[in-house]
């Protein structure tokens, strides 16, 4: 999970504060106060226990029931306060994740950046939840560490200055160790996370190639090499963990020895063998027990904070990624992609000196006119702007200069949605979603019979061949259909959408001549059927099959400079 992003991540802490913490600071404050109150109950409980046990020595046995009752009551209040604080914290984290997810969901498809869809999905689903431990643990731990040790130190000093001194010396040492240990612990947990994610990506790759591995008779070899690599990873990870655990052991050792020393010191003071260090000489039993009970709690907030330290680092890394995505260059489409009535008027498209605005560059588009029922090929070398021309006509990229006229009017925010109701686009690379083929063919849910469209696109037999027919799920890899078959399915999808103008981007690219001919036949049938057709291609056979041709000249260096 984001080990690489972690390294490059250095968001300004102020902006992270502004973005994530400021909106939820009321909840965080409330939770911190509740958690502090809960922490302050413990000294009172400790005092009750000390009071009861010292009563036993003095023969005051009736203290016991009172003390036990109040102790349990204190425990109840403490548990309830912590539970309430947890509710505030969960609410704060939930609100944060909801806000950030909403931002991503409603922005990324509207204005696309160059970030891959898998990266955005990972951010949305795996990384945003990493904000939760940061929000829920770090701030409360910070508040507790700045108050509770001071209070407990004060109480210890009140009883015995020597005992207080032991804590005072051990206390400031801890942040020093914490810096060391926090980093090491962070490294350790991250190492283990990385180990697991490396093993998982190895597993995924081996599994996805499993059919081939089996057919090659390489199963045992693949399993053995996996085991070998996993073993090497384990040895490396353990070497790191040995050091990391050692440093956290040193921290534990300090607090354990601190408490043990304190216990021995108190014991000797109670016996009267040590006569310095306490205000009342000798120290009373109740005082001694009280100090013994609160001493471990003096160290606890430091350890909590050390544990929460890497949550904060993870959270900041996520914020850095969010900020990077915020500042990415984006292309907005024209209109708002809402369902409106189709644009009226006879179908026509024309480009007049249009220049498309892509992130960081502008692409000049050819001038042409296409009327209802006509077919036209835009041709030219790779990178000349064929795909961009189709996108501009569909209103997927805006134009910086010039005009795109559709059905006699300009293509702009007011007309784009209605215009798009009359066109369909066949992209170069298919994407089969996680839906059944039936749903994929008819995303708007018209409920029309898909078979005529499949027949027209010469895709009928391939669908019949699929194990579950129209109910097959082709999934992201398009499992089970070849490139040519996928193109024909997309043509069927375009037909089924009932749109008049069909835009096709390189529909015969990477196909062998026989399959390409099938696709061209299917496209021809579209025009015979009354559709208008606009293809971007550099396949001479396809150009040949169209009525009109527009050629885009390669961009000359002077032109590029002029733009």
């Amino acid at each position: 999970m984001g080990s690489s992003s972690y390294e490059k991540a250095k968001p300004s802490k102020r902006s992270a504060q502004q973005r994530i913490i400021a909106p939820i600071s009321p909840q965080l404050r409330r939770a911190s106060v509740l958690s502090l109150l809960a922490g302050l109950i413990w000294p009172a409980q400790a005092a009750l226990v000390a009071w009861a046990i010292s009563g036993w020595v003095m023969g005051e046995m009736d203290r016991t029931l009172w003390a036990a009752g109040l102790f349990v009551f204190g425990g109840l209040i403490r548990a309830m306060l912590d539970r309430r604080a947890g509710a505030y914290l969960f609410g704060a984290a939930d609100q944060t994740i909801q806000r950030e997810r909403e931002l991503l969901i409603t922005r990324e498809a509207r204005a696309r950046a160059s970030t891959s869809s898998a990266e955005i999905a990972a951010l949305l689903v795996q990384k945003l939840p990493l904000l939760q431990p940061w929000v829920t643990r770090y701030y409360v731990a910070m508040t507790r560490v700045s108050v509770l040790p001071l209070v407990l130190l004060g109480l210890t000093f009140y009883v015995s200055w020597a005992a207080g001194l032991v804590l005072l010396v051990a206390g400031p040492l801890i942040p020093v160790f914490m810096a060391l240990v926090g980093m090491a612990a962070e490294d350790a947990s991250r190492k283990q996370m990385n180990e697991i994610s490396t093993m998982n990506s190895m597993l995924m790759e081996r599994l996805s190639a499993m059919l081939d591995i089996r057919l090659l008779g390489a199963t045992e070899r693949a399993a053995d090499s996996f085991a070998e690599r996993a073993e090497a990873l384990r040895t490396r990870t353990m070497a790191v963990l040995r050091v990391a655990f050692l440093s956290s052991t040193v921290l534990e050792l300090f607090s354990a020895l601190g408490v043990a020393m304190l216990a021995v010191f108190i014991g000797f003071s109670l016996l009267g063998e040590i006569t310095f260090g306490s205000w009342s000489v000798p120290l009373t039993l109740g005082e001694g027990l009280f100090v013994l009970l609160i001493a471990p709690e003096f160290f606890q907030p430091f350890r909590d904070l050390a544990a929460a330290w890497h949550d904060r680092a993870d959270g900041l890394a996520v914020v850095a990624e969010l900020e990077e995505l915020d500042s990415a260059e984006r292309v907005r489409f024209v209109g708002s992609a809402e369902m409106v009535a189709p644009l009226p008027g006879e179908l026509s498209v024309s480009l007049h000196g249009a220049v498309a605005a892509l992130p960081g560059r502008q692409v000049a588009l050819p001038d042409f006119i296409l009327r209802a029922g006509q077919s036209l090929a835009i041709t030219g070398p790779s990178g000349a702007g064929k795909t961009t021309a189709l996108a501009a006509i569909a209103g997927l990229v805006p134009v910086a200069h010039g005009q795109v006229f559709v059905c006699g009017g300009a293509l702009d925010d007011t007309s784009a949605d209605a215009w798009r109701r009359r066109i369909s686009l066949i992209p170069q690379t298919p994407h089969f979603s996680d839906h059944t083929l039936r749903e994929w063919l008819d995303p708007e849910g018209h409920g029309a019979d898909p078979w005529p469209a499949l027949t027209l696109a010469e895709a009928r037999s391939l669908v019949e061949r699929l194990p579950d027919g129209l109910d097959s799920r082709l999934g992201q890899s398009g499992g089970g259909v070849s490139g040519g078959e996928a193109r024909r399915l997309m043509i069927a999808r375009a037909v089924l959408s009932g749109r008049e103008l069909i835009l096709a981007d390189e529909p015969t690219a990477d196909l062998d001549p026989v399959t390409a001919a099938q696709v061209i036949r299917a496209l021809r049938r579209l025009t015979d059927d009354g559709h208008s057709l606009l293809v971007a291609t550099h396949d001479p056979a396809l150009v040949e099959a169209m009525e009109f041709v527009v050629e885009i000249a390669p961009v000359s260096p002077e032109q590029e400079e002029a733009l």
């Binding site: 036990a68 498809a109 999905a121 795996q126 998982n200 599994l207 190639a209 963990l241 108190i266 959408s497």
Partner: protein, 541 residues
Amino acid sequence: MKSLLPIVRLLISASPWSMARGALLAIVVLLMGAGLLGLSGWFITATGIAGITGVGIAFDVFRPSAGVRFLALGRTVSRYGERLLTHDATLRALAALRVTLLRRQSSLHSRALARLRSEATLTRIVSDVDALDGVVLRLLLPALAALITQVVVFMMMGWLTDWWMAWALLAGYLPLSGLIFWWLAQQSMVPSVNVEANAQALRRAAIDMLRDRQAVILGGVLGQREAGLLNMDSQSRQAARKLDRAERSAQASIAFLVSVVAGLALIVGGYLVAQGVVSPAVGGMGIFVALALAETILPLKRGVAEVGRMSSAAQRINESLQSSIAKTLNPVNTDPSAPLLVVNTGQLTLTLNPGDTVALTGASGSGKSTLLMQIAGLEACPIQPDGSASLTIKGVPPCDWAEPALRKLVAVVPQRSTLIAGSIRDNLCLARNASDELLWKALTAVALQQVIAERGGLDAQLGEGGSGLSGGQSQRLCLARGILNRPELLLLDEPIEGLDAQTADQVLVGIRRYLPDVAILATLHRSADHAVFDRQVRLSL
């Protein structure tokens, strides 16, 4: 819950010894923690009494104070050992779980194997395996350590203080914490599964929306899609909220239970002191030990909250491991006089001998690919009406062949093969190592030598899934990988689809020349009349 048993067995058997030592140290840590607090409490109370009664000089302070130091040090050191051992054991178990999964998944039938290429399936398997990683470290070990520690502490307290005190601790902690965890497991059963399922659904839906963006915009349904995703998000957060509430309630109940048991120990201690059964110092040990025992049950919470997710993951993994085809391991008695391959189904009659080159044609959907998988033993063999096998290789049906022998004999290059990340050499040598000379010969046979040489030779790196080569190039690399094994029977599924006519010709001729004595059966929907083929057979519907 029952579904977890096979997984637990598997995880433990990966390294039973370090797991056992880790568990032992975990118990030692807990016991020393209880001992440390109990001894310190006793020591201070006892010294207090000695101080009051003025027998301070006679009091043996050195042994108890040495004990306190020993326990404090010993606990820290044991903690270090425990962490190391359990992490080591867990890492071994992680690897073992994945290796077993790999081995067993490989014996699935061909369609299930092909499904493993879908990202959704892979993501699910990986998420299941992740869930199972915690079974031992977060559930089994802490539960075992807690139980044993509680029992040992019970015996010690009974022996050192009084059985009343021992019973108060055991009866206070065991049944009630068991009840709380049972409740938590019940409450989190559904949400813990939903949290993961919703996350995966949201992930897929987000990828779908972004990859299908143009169609979504053209369809005017972007707003709907976004609303759908927001709805999924709210469902996933709702499940997380339920899970969080259950966990917080369990946490609060346990914290309160600790107070109750400590209070109980104080009352029992006071009663025993009042009765004169024990001294105040011994009576006070109870509450200290009760507080220390909180450490035994608190770590269990996280594991218990995941029980639902773990057991549903275990169920799926177990199921997927069971659906494989049973394979014989015994060597088979082949018939030396029988032809290499005989196919005699209702659709096709074919006999193939070494050196034959046959094109297999047939309409889409007639089952050409399935036939190849049946010959390769990855789909169940069809049976003739009289009960005899309709497919035999050297007289033996493919499913009766031992796996290694069959793989040596038969090579199949499926229509859409998968490459892996790594060098060209890694990809070619997936099955066995071969010298550079042999590798180049195989590459030359599929007209790929120039492409690979231009890319930097055999050590040129390919990206994830073999990215970096064009479709036609990866297809030819897979062909080279298939022929490198020098099988006796080579099955090619659409070997030249997507290749231009000239390359297709080079590939067909090149393979034939590379393997002159091998029987080749290739499915084709064009060029079946190519000169390389001796004959054509057609698969009727």
